[in-house]
């Protein structure tokens, strides 16, 4: 059963929380809703799940209009960002509570409980209360309750955001495997582009209540159709500057220009916005397409395997992200090399040139 949103919009007071949205989610797909805080991820999910009703438009489940159907009567599961379990029930009762309500036979309940518990490694905790578990275990308990129902659609609202780093890595690696071969629609909200890339599937880039782009995750990442989608799907933030194209060259200012390449070659002369991901701006140059930039280092972040430098470029600030450790000094001028073949160009309406 596929899940369809038709012109779904949500207005609260005078504010549009979700602008008219059309979306079709296919069964068996892992879908990521990617967007910053307040982009409308949770609202959109609640509209899909029936926990909130749209101001206009309709939600269809397998072709049937369920806009007015309460969540109790839809075959859905929902996992919240905060670990929500029934505090007064044991882990076992928490997990089987949706099945108890559906009047399933005890044998079937036990069978499902066993396989779900195995999958989420909750075996030894069944008789404890949720507050006696660690954060990761509590969230696994919530996941188990969502999985045991075998729902048509499973909604995961930033399920890993409140876990510490190690647990997040662990659970994130498990998630796609857990949902594989279930045939249910999975919708996963996250604010981290890296997480969307790791989870794969399809991604909807969400910004201020608009879906900027929806498609296969790698497509959305590699070929954003507009500037918003590119910005949503970039961490550290995208580098942008306005450029002019004429004489077959891209001009940033009087002194900085380079020959147009790729899509830029065939685009008409005029004003564009250039955008490039930070890891295509590196402190070491390579290849023919490398364009030398120069800027004063403002902030540097070094992690074990990569260096991030924020430097001033013209009136703005650019970010460079490179593998390895580079000895940047704040305040010093440094050369960076832009890979001109990896640039995105957007017209005055923010649409990508292709």
């Amino acid at each position: 059963m596929k899940l369809e949103l038709k012109d779904v919009a949500k207005r609260v007071g005078a504010e549009m929380h979700i602008h008219e949205t059309n979306l079709v989610l296919e069964p068996g797909e892992f879908n990521v809703l990617l967007g910053a805080t307040n982009a409308g991820k949770t609202t959109l999910m609640k509209l899909m799940a029936g926990l909130d009703t749209p101001t206009s438009g309709s939600v269809l489940f397998g072709g049937v209009d369920v806009t007015k159907t309460p969540p109790q009567k839809r075959s859905i599961s929902f996992v919240h960002q905060f670990f929500i379990n029934y505090p007064h029930l044991s882990v076992r009762d928490n997990i089987i509570s949706p099945l108890k309500l559906s009047k399933m036979s005890d044998a079937e309940i036990n069978k499902r409980l066993e396989s779900t518990v195995d999958l989420l490694r909750l075996g030894p905790m069944l008789d404890r209360k949720p507050h006696e578990l660690s954060g990761g275990q509590q969230q696994r308990c919530a996941l188990a309750r969502a999985l045991i129902k075998d729902s048509t659609a499973v909604f995961l609202d930033e399920p890993l955001a409140n876990l510490d780093y190690k647990l997040r890595e662990e659970l994130r690696a498990e998630l796609p495997a857990i949902f594989a071969d279930r045939g249910s629609i999975v919708v996963y909200a996250t604010s981290e582009p890296a997480e969307a890339l790791m989870l794969g599937g399809h991604t909807a880039a969400l910004n201020e209540g608009h879906i900027a782009q929806f498609g296969a995750t790698s497509d959305v990442y590699r070929t954003p159709i507009n500037q918003t989608a590119a910005e949503v799907f970039s961490d550290p933030p995208l580098n942008t500057t306005s450029v002019k194209k004429f004489d077959g060259r891209i001009h940033v200012n009087e002194t900085l220009s380079w020959p147009a390449e790729g899509v830029a070659k065939s685009m008409q002369d005029g004003n564009y916005t250039l955008a490039v991901r930070p890891h295509f701006v590196s402190p070491t140059g390579h290849g023919d397409s490398a364009v030398e930039l120069s800027g004063r280092i403002q902030v540097t972040e070094l992690s074990g395997s990569e260096s991030v430098a924020h430097f001033s470029m013209g009136s703005g600030t650019w970010v460079s992200q490179a593998n390895g450790l580079h000895p940047f000094k704040v305040g010093e001028h440094h050369h960076f090399y832009l890979d001109s073949s990896k640039c995105f160009y957007f017209d005055s309406h923010g649409q990508a040139v292709r």
């Binding site: 609640k46 926990l51 859905i76 919240h80 905060f82 029934y86 949706p98 919530a142 129902k149």
Partner: protein
């Protein structure tokens, strides 16, 4: 160390003295009470208690009081639970004003409402019934219960409600089997305060009753005027009146501490 513990000990003695005096009086004969000053009963007697347990005008006072207090507690909670849920979960027009207005009912002295209630209940034939007193006490107990419960309910995330709906719980089922167990401390505290305020309230209870539903507090004051000074008997009645409150406090003492910690009560 001795000096440090002296202050609280003195304070507790100061607090307990009237209760001790009441207790000791209840075991004395009225003659002994009137004849002089003594710390212990010279002549122990259970006569005062015997009178109370054998004279229907006395023990019916307790039965009447307990009846309307329990009715009131049940009504208050049944009304306050959904009301508090609405206040804690939904924003609606005038919700804050309504909440404030509810609380102001608690602040007005009961005397203000005695006359309208008397007139109203007499007109509809509720005068001198338990339900009349119970309903009258709802006026200040429901706002209080709503206020206490709302504080407890607010600490339960709205996501719990949503999770239950997604799991298939209908609203009533969720409310009774999931929500109420999670705020049972709040329900306990609210029940305690309803019980207590209804138990100690005298003016409305006295005004709205004459014989059939006469509360114990009214019996005590009336006996004092009609049958001379039966001080021993009054003291025994006083001791018995303290007991129900003490029992209820004992059961909810931990929850009250929690209620204080949560900024309500």
């Amino acid at each position: 160390m001795k000096l440090k513990s002296l202050a609280p000990i003195l304070y507790i003695i100061f607090l307990m003295l009237p209760i001790y005096w009441l207790l000791s009086m209840s075991f004395k004969t009225t003659n002994e009470i009137l004849s002089g000053f003594s710390f212990f009963p010279q002549e122990w007697t259970l006569e005062n208690y015997a009178v109370i347990f054998n004279d229907p005008t006395w023990y019916w006072g307790y039965i009447n009081s307990t009846t309307y207090v329990l009715i009131n507690t049940v009504i208050s909670l049944c009304v306050a639970l959904p009301a508090a849920y609405a206040f804690s979960r939904y924003r609606f027009m005038g919700d804050k004003h309504l909440f404030f207005w509810l609380l102001t009912n608690r602040m007005a002295p009961p005397a203000v409402f005695a006359l309208p209630f008397f007139q109203l209940y007499s007109a509809v034939g509720l005068f001198d019934t338990h339900i009349a007193v119970a309903l009258a006490h709802c006026l200040f107990n429901i706002p209080l219960a709503v206020w206490i419960l709302e504080g407890f309910m607010k600490s339960i995330p709205k996501e719990l409600d949503e999770t239950a709906y997604v799991d298939g719980y209908s609203f009533p089922r969720f409310f009774v089997t999931i929500f109420m167990p999670n705020i049972k401390a709040g329900i306990g505290v609210a029940a305690f305060f309803c019980f207590m305020f209804s138990w100690v309230e005298l003016l409305l209870a006295k005004t709205l009753t004459s014989i059939d539903a006469k509360p114990i507090a009214a019996t005590m004051t009336k006996t004092a005027s009609s049958a001379g000074y039966e001080l021993g008997l009054l003291a025994a009645a006083g001791c018995l009146t303290i007991i129900p409150g003490a029992i209820v406090v004992y059961f909810v003492r931990n929850h009250i501490a929690k209620g204080f910690a949560m900024g309500r009560v």
